[in-house]
């Protein structure tokens, strides 16, 4: 192919449409207009836009976490002298925190940001299978997020201004015939349990569930896209068992997204049918069964827990292998354990209702299946630790996050045993033990893996390096703060501290105080992480194509990647065989084609 370039320009691959691009062209500067971002079909740009959106949601959810920990520092009301109003404000805060964090942060964080960013790169593809669907999924997410946040924030404002002021606004808007625009807010918790949500709660339930419904579609479209991409777009030579484990994890996640999310949509439709049309489905006053709602809800939401944790496990597999310069240990077991967790995750929802009065037989089956999830989880942890054995362990920021992940996941996973066993769960369910357990799994594990992934792919995403020392210090502050916040909650919970309490008896005071201090420390650590990112973007030194010596396909192309990712089709290889990469400088690894890769069968 002969290409004529303007004088002084050098040929680089990936100009888009099969054309070459001028030197220095990459996906970040390939177009500069607003529309070149808003209507982009480039998976990398969509990933970045998700990153801005999802992290804004995280900031909002985190603000409310700090707010509710502040209220709980002391059993007396903090945000309002009138205790009833303070408790109502607290109820809106914890609903806001939970709903925003679950629906707008944890579920989309890893698949939508890092999945979009690196999945096609790892596959050796130019984009996902359906780029337009990918863009649609992003804008649906934005629509759902705006609607959802508006409804929930409205409630927080309503309970924090005097009733007279609010009624004044309502009257003024009613005068303009747009009184419906003022949202009543939501105080049901992120679970929308009936009959409270349909009979007693504020008017925000229908619009808020509508928001969650819309967000679900975004999730489904992303899942469809990833499954199609993994099936159809793998580079030649990339067999299923030569995919990076992150892709196995994303595949398992996508399966759950497309199979479970429709059930959430159905549930929320039924909820709306009951609330708007008065059809008796869940409300006993109308002849419904309130516990049926919990089964519907957890049929989605328990698999959703695995939507949150599976991609995190994928990141950890990749990060630990690359940063200890060792082939991942037990590849097939890790890969299959991801799929096993995805499938078992569908069959355990009933463990949320052990004390609802459901039949002992159901409890036995759900308890047994729940226990079985521990096995693939254990397999993964042991394989990660074995990968370190005889490696060349580099304590880079992503590696430090990955090691902290193992600590937190070990706590989070093992405390699940207390809750999977029926008799101990009767004592512990809905206490702070549960709160601590799921924060260890969802925040401790997913957030730490997300940060590990962001740091791992940061040089690839932005072409900038960062200061490792600051990164490690920030990680350590977050780790200490996190444990301070949540470890004591295990003790408070097993002593009987109920969750979702705005105030509490004096015997739990000390645990809440430690917890609140821990939350402040965590917040400081996370603010430091954000500053660290900004400083890297502003003044980080230029990143090499391969700063870690990883061998999955994204490390074979420049950082940041060109608009079209690859020229032609790359050849799939063993992503965990690092023998062909030579370290030629700090964070610079060069490919040495003279070394032949370790044959798959002959690896020691």
């Amino acid at each position: 192919m002969s290409v004529t370039l303007p004088a002084g320009q050098v040929y680089v691959p990936g100009g888009g449409g099969g054309k070459p691009a001028p030197a220095g062209d990459n996906y970040l500067n390939h177009g500069t207009s607003i529309l070149s971002w808003a209507l982009t079909l480039d998976h990398k740009r969509i990933g970045l836009m998700y990153m801005v959106g999802v992290l804004s949601a995280f900031l909002l959810g985190g603000t409310f976490a700090i707010g509710l920990r502040t209220e709980l520092f002391d059993p007396s009301p903090f945000f309002n002298k009138n205790s009833s109003q303070a408790w109502e404000f607290y109820n809106h805060m914890f609903t806001m925190h939970g709903a925003i964090m679950v629906f707008l942060f944890i579920i989309p964080a890893i698949p939508a940001i890092l999945g979009n960013m690196v999945l096609p790169l790892m596959l050796g593809a130019k984009d996902v299978a359906f780029p337009r669907l990918n863009l649609l999924s992003f804008w649906i997410w934005v629509l759902g997020a705006v609607l959802f946040t508006f409804i929930l924030l409205g409630g927080v404002v309503r309970v924090s201004v005097p009733a007279a002021t609010w009624n004044g606004w309502q009257a003024a808007l009613d005068g303009l015939h747009i009184g419906w625009i003022l949202p009543g807010g939501l105080d049901t918790g992120w679970t929308f349990y009936t009959p409270y949500s349909t009979s007693k709660s504020t008017a925000g339930v229908v619009p808020a569930t509508m928001g969650a419904f819309v967000l679900g579609f975004s999730s489904i479209l992303t899942g469809v896209n990833f499954i199609a991409s993994i099936h159809m777009l793998r580079a030649p030579g990339m067999t299923w068992f030569r995919m990076p484990l992150f892709l196995w994890a994303i595949y398992g996640t996508a399966l759950i997204q497309i199979l479970a999310t429709p059930v959430l949509a159905i549930t929320l439709m039924l909820l709306m049918a009951e609330k708007i049309l008065g059809v008796g489905i869940f409300d006993p006053a109308l002849g419904g069964d309130p516990v049926l709602y919990q089964h519907f809800f957890w049929f989605y939401s328990h698999p959703a827990v695995y939507i949150m944790i599976l991609p995190a496990m994928g990141i950890i597999s990749d990060v630990i292998s690359v940063h200890s310069r060792k082939h991942i240990f037990g590849y097939t077991f890790i890969g299959f354990s991801s799929v096993a967790i995805a499938l078992l995750g569908f069959l355990v929802w009933g463990h949320h209702m052990f004390v609802s009065g459901q039949s002992p037989m159901a409890n036995a089956i759900f308890s047994l299946l729940t226990m079985s999830v521990a096995i693939p989880s254990a397999i993964k942890v042991f394989n990660w630790v074995s990968t370190l054995y005889k490696g060349d362990v580099r304590l880079t920021t992503p590696m430090v996050y990955a090691l902290y992940f193992i600590v937190l996941f070990t706590f989070g996973g093992l405390t699940g045993l207390f809750l999977g066993a029926v008799s101990t769960d009767v004592h512990l369910t809905n206490t702070y033990f549960i709160v601590a357990h799921f924060h260890y799994v969802m925040v401790g594990s997913t957030l730490f893996a997300f940060l590990a992934g962001v740091y791992h792919w940061w040089p690839k995403m932005f072409g900038k390096m960062y200061n490792e020392k600051v990164g490690v210090i920030a990680a350590t502050i977050v780790f200490i703060g996190f444990n301070l916040t949540f470890f004591v909650q295990f003790i408070a919970g097993s002593l009987g501290m109920p969750r979702r309490y705005a105030t509490y008896p004096e015997q739990f005071h000390i645990y809440h105080q430690i917890s609140t201090i821990g939350a402040y420390v965590t917040a400081c650590g996370l603010i430091l992480v954000l500053c660290h990112w900004i400083s890297s973007l502003r003044s980080g030194k230029k990143a090499a194509a391969n700063p870690w010596g990883g061998n999955s396909l994204e490390w074979h192309i420049p950082s940041p990647p060109p608009h079209d990712n690859f020229v032609g089709k790359p050849i799939g290889n063993d992503p965990y065989d690092f023998s062909q990469w030579k370290e030629t400088g700090e964070n610079v690894w060069e490919f040495d084609p003279s070394v032949s890769p370790t044959p798959i069968r002959a690896r020691p």
């Binding site: 009833s84 009065g357 009987g496 105030t503």
Partner: protein, 361 residues
């Protein structure tokens, strides 16, 4: 050493022997605590194993200048099977003992003492076989108790940490729980007060929906039951009305000093004209008040929501009469003499208020 252990336990609070669990208050606590501790030790063992190996590998194989990874295998079927089979055996064991403990909690003996528990937003009414009602749970030591749970409105949950029992209170059906309370403070004590909680989120004042469990000796329990069954022997209607106001959940929403709450204030309510949501108004007389207590949705006062649970079956006629008497005493619209409301009676026993109850100013 003994001194040290004793001082640690005294820090934990009386009756507790573990950092993790509350005092052992029922027949189930022993079994559940045993399993809890087994899982705790499994957790400690695997945490130490995993984190110990991890920290050792990180230190032993950390990167130094010029160091290369040593050749080692990346697959071992023996190891994979080891860490598949050992966890499988352990979780099957935990499952077995967990489920066995639960089966014990399902099978109540035939001779239980049955107490009805009615949950509503945001309070409890326990009804005893002799007709006595109370907002706290009173039980007799060493006698199996079965609690039949029902809800007036949304789902609640009755949770007594010291007994290690918990059950959802689901509207439209009866759920049941049973336990045998025991003494933990040895001889001499007549009552053990323990906390119980509503442990399923039920709205604004969910965290105030808590109460006490009193464990009585047999004689003491008989006496308490007899007294509780008939308040007329101890209180004037006015005193009883004030007690019902505080204990039955009225004060959660209705202030007595005119301040705003979830429901209309009771100050000057009696014999006043109440504007209704449909634009009409009604005279707040005895009939209106009785109707509002038993059928709260029948007439909604303007500016308020239909959120009050019905007290049908929970307050008897004479209890409602007492409440009306109390309302009269705080209404300027009532023109009768205050002395008429408060005949000479034995001195009243002041009601102990829960410090967490909201004070409506």
């Amino acid at each position: 050493m003994t001194l040290m252990t004793n001082s640690i336990f005294s820090l934990l609070g009386e009756g507790r022997t573990s950092l993790w669990l509350p005092s052992n208050g029922s027949n189930f606590a022993g079994d559940i605590d045993w399993l809890f501790n087994i899982i705790l030790w499994i957790t400690v063992f695997f945490t130490v194993l995993i984190l110990g190996l991890m920290v050792y590998f990180v230190i032993r194989y950390r990167h130094t200048a010029g160091r290369m990874p040593e050749p080692s295998t990346s697959h071992s079927t023996t190891l994979e099977l080891t860490w598949t089979i050992i966890p499988t055996i352990l979780v099957l064991g935990i499952f077995f003992y967990g489920f066995r403990g639960f089966v014990d909690m399902m099978g109540a003996p035939p001779d239980t003492y049955d107490i009805q528990a009615q949950a509503r937003t945001w309070g409890w009414t326990f009804t005893y076989p002799n007709g006595a009602t109370d907002e706290n749970l009173h039980v007799e030591a060493n006698r199996p108790v079965r609690i039949i749970l029902q809800s007036s409105d949304v789902i609640h949950a009755l949770y007594v940490p010291a007994f290690r029992v918990q059950k959802y209170v689901v509207p439209g059906r009866y759920n049941r729980m049973w336990f045998t309370p025991n003494f933990i403070r040895g001889t001499g004590a007549t009552t053990e007060t323990l906390d119980f909680y509503c442990n399923l989120y039920c709205g604004q004042l969910h965290s105030n929906m808590i109460g006490k469990v009193y464990v009585h000796t047999t004689e003491d329990y008989k006496k308490w039951l007899a007294d509780a069954a008939d308040w007329t022997k101890k209180f004037t209607p006015l005193q009883a009305g004030e007690n019902f106001y505080k204990k039955s959940g009225c004060m959660q929403c209705h202030s007595m000093d005119g301040s705003l709450g979830t429901g209309p204030t009771w100050k000057n309510l009696f014999a006043s004209q109440q504007p209704l949501a449909d634009g009409s108004s009604v005279l707040a007389d005895e009939n209106y008040i009785r109707e509002s207590i038993l059928y709260p949705a029948a007439k909604i006062v303007k500016g308020y929501n239909n959120v009050m649970p019905s007290y049908l079956g929970q307050l008897k006629d004479r209890d409602i009469d007492a409440l009306i008497t109390y309302m009269k005493s705080i209404s300027e619209n009532y023109k009768g003499s205050p002395d008429d409301l408060n005949p000479k009676m034995p001195p009243s026993v002041p009601v102990q208020l829960n410090p967490l109850d909201p004070i409506i100013h």
